[in-house]
């Protein structure tokens, strides 16, 4: 029963609608043409449904060209990560979950890379791929889809530029996102990307990466960016070092520590105010004298009055650790960029790995996501992935695929019927439960209520409906801003929005053209098939025996509008569940 497919509906005759009584008698040819038109439209509609729900639907575009990257080094790294994780789990004497259903894994990949769950159409396509290849195949497919570049670019923009609107005249967020998306699509080496950002100059419209700097500027004083904000952001986004507290005082809480150069016994020293301001000094030469020319470099000139000092001190650019990696000569920002992305500055690779892990799992390896100790200790997997990432040219696509290949990623979120506790999640013995982001909830609802995938090849109307709807929904649901990985729980307004809001009701009500609920209700050959299709569309899994019985009961002996209503109720129930609104 779990594998029963929806049979093609082309076999069932389409309904022939009676003609309306004419105001005046029409010629016979006109009546005939009208009937033929209705028949053609009906055939077309049924063909579309049949195509989308038949056991052998047309493949998504370009699927023939997808080949799985069988790089043995990637597989080897994934295996080593699993081994390290397994050792840590065994040391805690925990049980670990077995592999999750492939549809659940597919859902995780889709949520991470494009922001919504699988469509029924996509599930049907994946059924035709050998099961042990589905995860990687789907990843390959999505990485070639512009949606993933756009979505990852948006997530990365939050981390590098924030969610503020920025100065109205000097900042173009959309250009920055698009620039990032272009590079993600091309899989540009990430270290080069970051160097381009840190050394950006010119106009923020012609050189979109300049927006990293102009985002910190003030409309009231548009001569230079805010070096304090840039220092903090550079440190957090690219190195996962939270040194913002050092802006005002030395670190008396022992939260920030730096190691000495390599090859000497590792000693930590606590952070000092100078560490922060010396980093800020790298940006102090950036100027905008002419808005038509944009940002340009001049010699750094930065002074600051340290705590308990009476006079300002001149601050020279310097880095807080591994000073041996900082080039002695050159433009200040180029020196900084070289240091940040130096292969021996392992914080760079770790920061990227931690963020990508967070995007894929919903939870980073180390929390907070932008605070990784320089000298460790590091959780299992972080160093392995970081070293591999650096060794392979900072290849983001490879990083994504490596993580997805791990057993850890494909693990179930529960262990049979045995209750799990926080320790299981903390040690990755189960896949963690994390709340979907607002745009993921919105896009998932939209996709679940359509049978076909909403992608680039969808009609512009469908995309606009998705885009506009997602924006309005996200605003009402509440955007978390930059603290997207902080654990949050559901709120009453969020529940009211999904329970009673128009966004959901419009997508599950009776609408045989657009809504999956109606089409499944009308065209499924029997009740169990209808319930299974509903579950696959929304939760991306098959119902259990108990769930199947319960919802078949709701559909029993229903016809027409009452059947459509019953299916709407099922869709509402599934969409309003914890399971739908959380990643697991």
């Amino acid at each position: 029963m779990a594998n029963e497919k929806i049979p093609p509906f082309l076999l069932e005759p389409p309904p022939v609608l009676p003609a309306s009584p004419p105001l005046r008698p029409k010629p016979a040819t006109q009546r005939w043409k009208k009937r033929l038109l209705f028949v053609c439209m009906g055939m077309f509609l049924l063909a579309g449904v049949g195509w989308a729900t038949s056991p052998r639907p047309k493949l998504l575009r370009d699927t023939d060209s997808i080949s799985i990257d069988r790089d043995s080094t990637m597989v080897s790294v994934a295996a080593q990560i699993d081994l390290a994780m397994d050792d840590a789990i065994a040391a805690k004497e925990l049980h670990q979950a077995s592999r999750a259903d492939w549809r659940t894994v597919g859902r995780r990949i889709s949520l991470a890379l494009i922001g919504n769950g699988l469509s029924l159409e996509e599930i049907r396509v994946l059924e035709q791929v050998p099961e042990d290849e589905r995860a990687l195949w789907w990843t390959e497919y999505l990485l070639r889809d512009r949606r993933s570049s756009d979505y990852l670019a948006e997530r990365w923009t939050r981390a590098t530029v924030g969610t503020n609107n920025g100065p109205f005249l000097l900042f173009r967020r959309r250009k920055y996102v698009d620039w990032l998306a272009d590079h993600f699509e091309k899989n540009s080496p990430y270290d080069q990307l970051v160097r381009d950002i840190l050394t950006a100059k010119g106009s923020w419209t012609d050189s979109p990466q300049v927006n990293f700097l102009t985002a910190t500027m003030d409309d009231a004083d548009n001569s230079k960016p805010d070096v304090i904000r840039l220092a903090g952001r550079t440190s957090r986004a690219f190195l996962s070092q939270r040194i913002d507290c050092l802006q005002c005082h030395h670190d008396y809480l022992g939260k920030v520590s730096f190691s000495n150069e390599l090859n000497v016994p590792l000693e930590s020293r606590t952070g000092e105010q100078a560490d922060f301001h010396q980093l800020a000094a790298f940006f102090s030469g950036v100027r905008m004298d002419n808005p038509f020319v944009g940002l340009r470099n001049s010699a750094p000139q930065y002074t600051y009055t340290y705590l308990n000092e009476d006079a300002e001190s001149r601050v020279e650019p310097n880095v807080p650790y591994r000073r041996d990696l900082l080039p002695a000569a050159g433009d200040a920002r180029h020196r900084l960029a070289s240091w940040v992305t130096h292969p021996e500055n392992k914080a760079f690779a770790r920061a990227t790995v931690n963020r990508m892990w967070g995007v894929l799992f919903g939870k980073p390896l180390i929390e907070p996501i932008d605070s990784i100790p320089i000298s460790g200790p590091f959780p299992p997997g972080l160093e392995l992935l970081s070293d591999d990432f650096a060794k392979n040219g900072y290849n983001l696509h490879r990083l994504i695929k490596t993580i997805i290949c791990t057993e850890v990623f494909q693990r179930d979120s529960r262990i049979g019927d045995e209750p799990v506790d926080a320790e299981h999640e903390a040690h990755w013995a189960v896949f963690p439960l994390t709340q979907l982001r607002p745009e993921q909830v919105a896009a998932s609802i939209h996709q679940a209520c359509r049978i076909k995938a909403i992608d680039e090849s969808s009609s512009i109307l469908s995309q606009l409906e998705l885009f506009g709807g997602v924006n309005d929904f996200t605003k009402a649901y509440g955007d978390r801003g930059e603290d997207e990985f902080e654990a949050q729980s559901v709120t009453i307004p969020q529940r009211l929005l999904v329970m009673n809001g128009a966004y959901v009701s419009e997508r599950i009500q009776n609408n045989p053209v657009a809504n999956a609920a109606t089409r499944i209700a009308e065209l499924s050959s029997n009740d169990p098939t209808a319930v299974e299709s509903a579950y696959l569309s929304t939760l991306n899994r098959n119902p259990t025996g108990e769930e199947l019985d319960a919802f078949c009961d709701r559909l029993r002996d229903t016809r027409g509008m009452s059947r459509s209503q019953a299916m709407s109720n099922i869709f509402w129930t599934l969409i309003n569940s914890t399971e739908f609104q959380w990643n697991h």
Partner: protein, 419 residues
Amino acid sequence: MAAGGLLGQGMLTRVAERLAMASESRNAENLGAKNLIILWMQGGPSQLETFDPHAGSAIGGETKAIATSAPGVMIANTLPRTAEIMHRATLVRSLVSKEGDHERATYNMKTGWRPDPTLIHPAIGAVLCHQTENNIEIPRHISILSNEWPARGGYMGSVLDAFQIGDPQNPLPNLKSYTDPLVFETRMNDLRDVVEKEFRRGRLRDLDQAKTLHEASTVRARTMMASEQIKAFDISLEAANIIQSFGDTPFGRGCLAAVRLIEQGVRCVEVELNGWDTHIDNYSLQSKRCEVLDAGLHALMTQLEERGLLKQTIVMCGGEFGRTPKINVAGGRDHWPTGFSTFLAGGPFRAGHVHGQTTHEALVKGKDPITGVRDAMKVEDLHATLLHAFGIDFSKELQTPIGRPLTLSAGKVVQSLFV
């Protein structure tokens, strides 16, 4: 900080010890205020066109000053009705901040902290709800007509985010099921007994309470849908003359809704009036906004007084900054965070009192604008003062999610604002 405190206590003399204990009890003492209404003027209302006119001076523009019910206190002629209730208000004319950007300054004024990339601070309404308890079936933190930057729970949790609504004359969004009660009941039962039951299997013990709060929020949402208390949002239940007194504007209606919600037990209501960002045509645009504010503020204060709520409710009216003393070439005023005004009333605040003063010195070339502000009051001091008025010990530290202990405010209480 904590270590220093412990050390300090060990070294206190007997007298100092008694003084410290007295101070501690004063911190914990309830000064009578329970509720907060914030009339939020988004965009930066001009202090010179509202509560701090300099009529006839080089910076005064077209605005005239009028006498008020508070002896010796003059405000702009754009607020004639507000002038009648100034004897109940405390006026702060010397607020200063370091934020000249709308978003950052809004954050600063709503939370009492400057934006920090590592932490989202809670808005003062969220702090009030977090630190106090009362059991009502509708949200305790509400924001009416909020636009871009609503009040948030920050590190205290999204459960303390302000519940947002629009113009109160419209039905509350998402509070009514669009299906009939029987269908809704069936849906809810299937959700609870079929789908959630399966999802709970094999997961965290007490999954909902320990982690998601999904089912708990569903129950509370349902309770709110059926609650009589949602009538507090319905201003049409008021007498026509009362509705009229607030003005026929969304803001006016929001102010009336705020009174009703406070009456019902809501702890903090924010009502927004935007459109104050007058970089061009300052006098005309500010005057138009003042017309709306004037009716709403006057009626709000009147109704709070008549319903016996003013003693336990603090009213705060202001924006994220003020506007420049100098008028620009387009007849506008630009952003000015060095000497701007906030109106306070209710609770323990001293009626008819003015704190601080701005002078023309700010205009003198080469001088730091702060020299034009007497008795300057920082935004964090305003927040410390407000929290103190609610009997909240703002100096106690909470552990934030980033592992950093943080007090509720970094400011100092301005005692002269109290009776």
